[in-house]
Amino acid sequence: MPSRVPLQVLSGHCPIDELPDELDLSELADEMERLWIKSIERLDEGIVVEYAATIVKRADGFLKLINAVSGNSTNVLPDWATTEPDAFIGTFHTHPRTDDLLPMPFSDTDFVSAIQLRERLSLLYSDEIVFALVRTLSTSDDVDLFEIRGEFLSFFGTRAELQPDAVWEANKSLAVRYGFGLYMGTTNELFREV
């Protein structure tokens, strides 16, 4: 049985109006949950660790996370080296927070790396919620970091802290602007939002 994610989605060339309404990422569920638990296993001590990994499509057609690495939100970088016959699809990372453990959607730099790395699928796991960016025919080929940051920050007004709802509104706006499909949900039931 091939991946539950349609081939057209994984191609990175799906017309935006042909994206499916839902995605099933259950084949990656165990691995995503394992890395999330590792992210928060020292939460009692006030320590969280961000994990990242590379999503590949294996020869058998299934998706898999490889090359898991850890760090903090400013230095964790996926190791996107892949070897044949694995094919690079995109990246996965976690967003743990020490203060409230609320789900936190994509950051402005996540959008930048999804565009610059030509990720077909970019996944984020935060407090049992999975967020997904899907590259389409309309996705930008390049991006100006300062422009994207300016637009991202415009959603926060004068509030110093990043509020999840404001980040989510910024995600929807950036997904429309840069031509991504944006999904949110659990590992096996993600609904398309944009």
Partner: protein, 133 residues
């Protein structure tokens, strides 16, 4: 002149707010940290998920399925509730999958035609018939 013994109005919730604050303070002192309410977008997603599950449940039906091995190998599966609903497949499992597909297709057609869907609420039972008596 103010009433020296004011009656506490039903809408006066100062006592309740004070109590909530006191409980919060005690819990904090005990090291109990409450998780804040999920963001609005997560609450909306969870509501959507619940609605979908409720809808799926509403759309599910139970039917009796009968299986019999065929002389020419393979299995025949029949749903007696639906007229002429019979499928054949090499294995019992495949016959079951094919029967579910057939029932689904037939029910969808009836639903689109505005008909009421049949359902099976009873349960099957094997009864022994003694012919010698």
């Amino acid at each position: 002149m103010d009433n020296p013994n004011p009656i506490l109005g039903l809408k006066d919730e100062t006592w309740l707010n004070a109590l909530i604050e006191e409980v919060k303070a005690r819990r904090t002192a005990l090291g109990i940290v409450e998780k804040p309410e999920p963001p609005l977008f997560v609450r909306k997603f969870r509501n959507r998920l619940e609605e979908r599950k409720a809808k799926q449940l509403q759309l599910s039906r139970t039917f009796l399925a009968l299986f019999e091995p065929m002389n020419s190998n393979g299995f025949r599966a029949v749903c007696p509730t639906i007229e002429n609903c019979t499928v054949e497949a090499p294995t019992r499992e495949e016959a079951k999958t094919a029967l579910i597909g057939e029932i689904k297709q037939r029910l969808r057609a009836r639903l689109q035609a505005g008909e009421t869907l049949p359902t099976e609420r009873g349960s099957a039972e094997m009864v022994e018939v003694a012919l010698g008596e």
